[in-house]
Symmetry: C2
Subunit: 245 residues, 2 copies
DNA sequence: CGCATCGTTGACCAAGATCAAGCCTGGTGG
DNA sequence: CCACCAGGCTTGATCTTGGTCAACGATGCG
């Protein structure tokens, strides 16, 4: 396993440069492709911060003053409607970057689901950094492209897939994306609640629960615990995800 | 009106440098922020091309060899599922850029809805161009951020909005985005068919038709012709779009 | 004029939402 | 140690939104 356990980052109220060299998330992150001077510059401006479950990294409608690079934990990106309806547009794991949309104000908020550690950059520092380091800019552009592709996939999922197809796609994605997944083959953590899964897939908790139940009785997955699950028949899930049955 | 009518671009089979200086779409486009040497370089590598309604600019699954900058017309970005279900992930108008996702292969296809003229760049040329022109790269990154924000808005729409809210949001977006909209206040073209609207909003043609009908009887819009519509009560549409009623 | 394509309208249907109990699990306090 | 409670999860009964199926009207083209 690549994953190196981080020392808990020091007090966030007193800014302190990060030690990017020792960062366990570097392998997954935009910083992976930086080295030498570029990495040093980044390291100097990054401030390690941590957020308990439920705390907000950024809030819908507020000024975008900071950007983040997640180093461990799980967060959700969500938008709320006036009447309280919620859509979760994505989950963030170690290595994910917050702030590519780069608007003056956040269109959605980002909140920790479980303890999150991250590198924080002031937006001004970030802009200088990007200007000085064409390599970084290129990496960010590439990353933005990936996110755009993922967003399109989610649009297809929400617009045209059935509840079963949505859940199947979700589980497969999660298995690919969460770098903290347990070692056991096919096993994966569900750090998010049923409500969060529902708000991500455009469903209700009841439907999520029922479909997972059906997957279980069909022998496609096994619920090790309520938040831990083992995929028994990945090929079956893939079929379901693409609507091939 | 800013819009300058383009001379029909010359034969696409014989590559020919574009005249960016005379381009009517430049105001909306990524090239808007380029000038001098940068613009000259771009101009030299851009090849003007045109696509009749129904023709594909890029095809799902094929190698991504070219990028495009749309100079006039309307195109759709779509993904097909194995069983034929279609999701349109976006409509493209003059000034829009095709290829930010920058994957080796296209995850979806882009097809002209009505006659499209565009500037085409070979992917290799594009990479050189971006490397030589940090300004261009910055603009593209910014554009990618905008598209990401739009994609998130569409995810909210598909995941949590009702049919009426979807249609209302769609009409308001269209009014903002299409630079070719007719002059008359509140009037807008619907270059796309009902089927395309439905596949964009995750609905069926019948539902689109019915909801538009309801908007009409409610006096919110007026259908000038089947593909031309006037918004009579924009404030009502805004309310509907945000679910405030 | 006749056919094809697209859009509209109506009758009926079903996937998933809503409403309403129960059920676990973990934490608290007696 | 166990009774109790709270929050999240599951399960069942019923309802509603939007989908499906079908017929018909408009538009446009050869």
């Amino acid at each position: 396993m690549l994953q190196v356990r981080l020392k808990p980052p020091v007090c966030p109220s007193r800014p302190l440069a990060a030690d990017c060299g020792a960062c366990g998330a570097r392998a997954f992150s935009v910083c992976a492709s930086l080295e030498g001077e570029d990495l040093a510059r980044l390291s100097a401006l990054a401030e390690p911060v941590r957020f308990a479950a439920g705390q907000a990294l950024t809030r819908q409608g507020e000024r975008a003053d900071y950007l983040f690079n997640i180093t461990s934990g799980t967060a959700r990106v969500q938008t709320l409607m006036a009447d309280g309806r919620r859509q979760i547009t994505g989950f963030l794991f170690a290595g994910d970057f917050v702030g590519l949309e780069a608007a003056a104000r956040h269109a959605g908020s980002v909140e920790a689901i479980e303890l999150v550690t991250a590198c924080r950059f002031a937006i001004g520092d970030y802009r200088t950094l990007v200007r000085q380091s064409p390599k970084l800019e290129a990496v960010l552009l590439e990353r933005a492209g990936h996110e755009l592709t993922e967003a399109r996939a989610q649009i297809l999922l929400l617009g045209r897939k059935t509840a079963e197809e949505k859940l199947a796609s979700f589980l497969l994605n999660l298995a690919d994306r969460d770098p903290m997944r347990p070692h056991a083959e096919g096993q994966l953590r569900l750090p998010m609640s049923r409500t969060e899964i529902a708000d991500y897939l455009g469903l209700t908790i009841e439907t999520v629960s029922r479909v997972l139940g059906r997957f279980k009785t069909a022998g496609i997955v096994q619920l090790v615990s309520v938040s831990e699950l083992r995929i028994l028949r990945p090929e079956r899930l893939t079929q379901l995800a693409d609507g091939e049955s």
